[in-house]
């Protein structure tokens, strides 16, 4: 299986690997996937309360190169966005950016789930209503 250069780059030089303090009120944590599926992503965002802008984002992923790249890319895209705009990130954007083949599209879907889960976790902690996301069809 040939990986795109961008996937290889994210894998070799992943952006924003790490952990934020999940107990902090400004931090939203999304943990998605399952060890049995071979894909687990943990995405965290640190939000500036005043502006609603994502100040920092970190990830850790158990999964293949495409999964790692998808979550790494996600953290790059999240930084500097408001949580409302971040909620509109679509998995197909990730697929296009990384040139993911059909068999790896599910990695991008998981990354999108992780983003939404992190946002909702933040919203819940801060007394905001959790957003309802439509179930994505199986690709």
């Amino acid at each position: 299986m040939a990986y795109s250069e961008k996937v290889i780059d994210h894998y070799s030089n992943p952006k924003n690997v790490g952990t934020l303090d999940k107990a902090s009120k400004n931090v939203g944590t999304g943990l998605v996937g399952a060890p049995e599926c071979g894909d687990v992503m943990r995405l965290q965002i640190e939000v500036d309360d005043a502006t609603g802008i994502i100040k920092d984002a970190k990830f850790k992923t158990f999964g293949c190169g495409s999964a790692i790249a998808s979550s790494s890319l996600a953290t790059e895209w999240l930084k500097g966005k408001s949580i409302d705009v971040a909620a509109t990130i679509d998995n197909m954007d990730i697929v296009e950016e990384l040139n993911l083949p059909p068999v790896k599209i599910h990695c991008s879907v998981l990354a999108e789930d992780a983003i939404k889960a992190a946002i909702n976790d933040y919203r819940k902690k801060n007394g905001l209503e959790e957003l309802v996301f439509e179930e994505k069809g199986v690709h």
Binding site: Y3, I8, Y11, P14, V17, T19, L31, V32, G33, A34, P35, E36, C37, G38, D39, V40, M41, R42, K60, T61, F62, G63, C64, G65, A67, I68, V103, H106, V109, L110, D113, A117
Partner: protein, 405 residues
């Protein structure tokens, strides 16, 4: 000077020994005759070459040359051996016993037989990959005509108790077929001493060419016959029609001879390298060898690195080191290895495994390089793994409710 990439996927295929290639070359453009051409020197030469190779092959496994049928490889041998017996002995019964860790070529052949009305029992294996002999004997019934258990497993290298299986088969008057693809040429295999009735193996796993293999079919005590699956000119005693692949056969014969003469010294050297690799990698935390370590091929190691995913791991060095995670045949799917699952491994460990297959051409320098690359990559990926972090914090991952997608 270390030449990259390093090849450690010898269970998938092996490089041809240059000495094998050398013997084959004249049979492409010089002595290119059809071995079945009875009437002229081109045919006679080809036939002589085939006869000689047949002896070389037979000698490696302790058989009579008359008991060797040339095939296109082990998959064909699995089909011919299993379907061939099923059809030939239909009057006697229609029940076959096999194991759930067999190669797909055996499992899919058995599925085909089930569709045709046959009955197949797929035995489970124990945690170390070995068959439970009591389960085997208990599964035999009056309609059983064949037991099909592989000699050594292609993913974990585990060697089954072949002599004991053969004894049970003999006791109940059931034929014993074994897919010995990973064993022949690597460890001593003797069809008489081991009590085998039918056996398949192939050239490209023992430094020979691809596209050529053999099915051993016993002629004495008892005399076994198989119904041909390829009809045509009645070649190979009516059991496998088709013009013989003379250059392939010549190469296969030479490969068998080299294995017979060099196996013992190769094994000493290769098993030392395998042990060095394994010992070093087991020094990493949460690394586990899959399968019985005692009854195992000397050149194989299957290791799981917990909390790190196999494909991701391979990506760290697969430009430089050739390995597989699970078998080559299952790598196209997204499923974790069915062999590892059969051992009772959780999906996470099955997803985290690497299979190492060393060869006659593996050097210590290659092993040292591999140890370093893999260790570095495992450590790097662990830093990136949320599961490793949770493990380090003492969180019980079995208690987490994962958000399945």
């Amino acid at each position: 000077m270390l030449k990259l990439p390093v090849y450690l996927d010898n269970n998938a295929t092996t490089p041809m020994d240059p000495r094998v290639l050398e013997t084959m070359i004249p049979y492409f453009t010089e002595h290119f005759g059809n071995a079945a051409s009875r009437n002229h020197p081109f045919g006679w030469e080809a036939e002589e070459a085939v006869d000689y190779a047949r002896e070389q092959v037979a000698k490696l496994i302790g058989a009579d040359p008359k008991e060797i049928i040339f095939t296109s490889g082990a998959t064909e041998g699995d089909n011919l051996g299993i379907k061939g017996v099923y059809e030939m002995y239909a009057q006697k019964g229609n029940h076959i016993i096999t194991a759930n860790t067999e190669h797909k070529a055996v499992l899919d052949t058995c599925k085909h037989i089930e569709k045709s009305g046959g009955e197949v029992t797929y035995l489970s294996v124990q945690e170390d990959g070995l068959i439970d002999l009591k389960d085997l004997e208990a599964a035999i019934k009056p309609t059983t005509i064949l037991i099909a258990i592989m000699y050594a497993n292609n993913e974990i290298g585990v060697i089954q108790p072949v002599k004991e299986i053969a004894a049970i088969a003999k006791k109940h008057g059931v034929l014993f077929f074994t897919d010995a693809t990973q064993a022949v040429g690597k460890i001593p295999v003797d069809v008489i001493k081991d009590g085998i009735d039918l056996m398949t193996f192939t050239g490209h796993k023992m430094y020979g060419p691809k596209g050529i293999g053999a099915l051993y079919v016993r002629r004495k005590n008892p005399r076994v016959k198989v119904t041909a699956q390829m009809d045509g000119g009645g070649h190979e005693r009516g059991m496998r029609s088709g013009t013989l692949n003379v250059p392939g056969i010549v190469g296969f014969g030479k490969a068998c001879e080299l294995c017979r003469l060099e196996m013992d010294q190769d094994t000493v050297r290769i098993s030392k390298l395998r042990d060095k690799l394994e010992t070093a990698l087991l020094k990493l935390d949460e690394a586990y060898v899959n399968g019985n370590r005692e009854h195992r091929l000397p050149h194989v190691s299957n290791i799981s690195f917990k909390y790190v995913e196999g494909e991701g791991l391979l990506m760290g060095f697969n430009k430089n080191i050739a390995l597989s995670s699970g078998s080559a045949c299952t790598s196209a799917s997204l499923e974790p290895s069915y062999v590892l699952k059969a051992l009772g491994l959780g999906d996470d460990l099955a997803h985290s495994s690497l299979r190492f297959g060393l060869s006659r051409f593996t050097t210590e320098e290659q092993i040292d390089y591999t140890i370093e690359q893999i260790s570095t990559t495992v450590l790097k990926l662990r830093e990136m793994s949320p599961l490793w972090e949770m493990f380090k914090e003492g969180i019980d991952m079995n208690s987490i409710e994962w958000a399945h997608h």
